[in-house]
Symmetry: C2
């Protein structure tokens, strides 16, 4: 089970990727611990400036040779003034609570795209071994730049069609992101696509592509790894399980919330960022429920809620933080990365041939 | 892998249950083929009168000794006149299309309960080996009657809490019905519960009960069986895979629709029965989308749409039939039950220890 198409291609001992969770979780302490324990550590660089990314990568290279970076592919979005105003009005009570100013630095399409192109430049110049993408796929010209630099590429698919699209573009592997997955849903061909569960998504994608498929969603231990390999995946991408480890940079409140949560509390919401993402239900999500459909698109809504999320984290107020988590919180354990990876491999090896 | 807690308790060769799909699919030709191929065939008796059930069981006993029956536990419901009127108005265009009369035989709470009690009587008197329940659990007094008659009982859970509830009642096994599953969702402790994917639901339930857990949702072949056993399930319940077999009593149009469908077409709707159920999106579901939240409860809506569903089936019009299916239609194959079970076991045995 241990050596396969994925481990060879990505030069790792074990078929485990640490999901590239954006927003301060994937510190070098987490990423290097994963890579040094035989998995593939990933920097969730979606929200990073090129300078932040370059500086983290330079430091990380002192700790490990093999790691990856994940980027958000910019979507087209429109600035609908009345939606922004409505979203700001919905946030008034929260702004008053924390004595916050309205966030008026709304991202423009140009700045959004420019940041992405600069991130790509860092990836190429620093010859980062693996680059994965969420919310879309890179252009052919970017693909060529990455290939020329010897960088392995990974796409994120939520349907069979998206996986086929990723393979046809020449990417090296595809993450099959199922309904159970925490955080942002990576759909890109259709916006209002209904999510597909891992049990259905993985084998249907496996039957339609020849690049390695990486299962993601709800996988927390050796049972999940073994099950994914049975479904035809060549590796797994685990998020929540790594988020709660000792080495993770996630806020302590976030880790505690997951460790105490049950599966029924996990919901999907657009209220934090404008894109659908899965996490623990809290006061903010409940308040925003009625506005859900009318909120501005990503990344506008994300910018509007940023001051609130920062203030809430500072005040240890989990009612207004984005507590991303997958659907298996009962399986989360506070432990070291080494123990998580070691136990996962040990348990999976006992189950499958 | 083949012999375990489940196969011993349910006296079967293989850990495979054919899902008890109600509404004419589970003919004796299907049920006996499953049981005689080493699985557990089930009659979906939810909509049957006691007489229909008794007559099918008497005939089935000539073909196999081991089989089960599934019953719908009656929910409380209210007759909200304006909702019934609104639902009937929404159906007018369809009624005109097929020159149908409005269905005025709305079930009463009394008739609904009486039918259920009479079904239980048949199960006890005919000493049907296995009785499973959907939409709730039997009362303690019914449980006692079933136990005294030596009948094994199975509950349906969509959350950890529901599984614990089922175990505490003294049932022998629990179906963990995940998000991927086709047909009706069996939730009973909370009505508006968000579904949990199989990858998350099964191990979390396994960690909280000691009775055998039966995985359900999206499982179509040996990969799905092997994966479920890795997650800690002791058996699987497969619906869509059996629905499309040669022996199944499903309408030919329904089988064809599944064989041609892709995963993106599978949606959840209350429009046919008043309870959430999963199937292939069609014209009727699209028309009813806007009324979804305001439709009468089960079994009222089910009664209101029955004439339409019958007429549509007769006219081979898949736009107005309830085309229940799980999220893995691309894995469906038109084949014999024997081949389906044989291949599933062969493939799973190659994958797991």
């Amino acid at each position: 089970m241990i050596e396969n198409q994925f481990t060879k291609l990505f030069n790792v001992e074990y078929p485990i990727i640490q999901a590239p969770m954006a927003g301060g979780i994937t510190t070098n302490s987490l990423v290097s611990a994963v890579s040094n324990a035989g998995g593939l550590g990933m920097i969730g660089a979606g929200y990073m400036s090129p300078e932040q990314l370059r500086s983290q990568v330079k430091e990380l290279k002192l700790q490990t040779e093999n790691f990856g970076v994940n980027l958000f592919v910019p979507n087209d979005f429109s600035l609908v003034e009345h939606k922004i105003q409505a979203a700001n009005e919905a946030l008034v009570s929260v702004q008053e609570k924390y004595k916050l100013e309205k966030n008026t630095s709304i991202p423009t399409k140009e700045s959004f795209l420019e940041n992405y192109f600069e991130q790509i430049k860092v990836v190429v110049e620093e010859k980062i071994p693996v680059c994965s993408f969420t919310f879309g796929v890179p252009t052919k010209s970017i693909m060529n730049d990455l290939k020329r630099a010897g960088i392995s590429t990974v796409g994120t698919a939520t349907t069979v069609q998206e996986a086929i699209h990723i393979e046809q573009l020449g990417m090296d592997a595809v993450v099959a992101q199922g309904y159970e997955a925490g955080g942002h849903r990576g759909s890109f061909l259709k916006d209002k696509q209904r999510s597909i569960g891992v049990m259905s998504l993985v084998p249907q994608i496996v039957d339609h592509v020849s690049i390695p498929v990486i299962a993601a969603g709800g996988i927390m231990d050796g049972r999940g790894l073994a099950a994914s390999l049975c479904l035809g995946a060549k590796a797994v991408q685990m998020g929540t399980a790594f988020l709660v480890t000792e080495e993770s940079g996630a806020n302590h409140i976030h880790k505690e919330a997951i460790l105490q949560a049950v599966e029924e509390e996990i919901v999907e919401t657009r209220a934090f960022s404008g894109k659908y993402a899965q996490g623990i239900r809290n006061q903010y999500i409940d308040i925003m429920m009625e506005f859900e459909e009318d909120l501005p698109e990503f990344p506008i809504q994300n910018a509007l809620t940023q001051p609130m999320r920062k203030a809430a984290a500072k005040n240890k107020d989990k009612g207004y933080m984005s507590l991303w988590a997958g659907q298996s919180p009962r399986l989360a354990k506070y432990q070291t990365v080494k123990k998580l990876i070691g136990d996962t491999i040990f348990e999976a090896t006992k189950l499958i041939k």
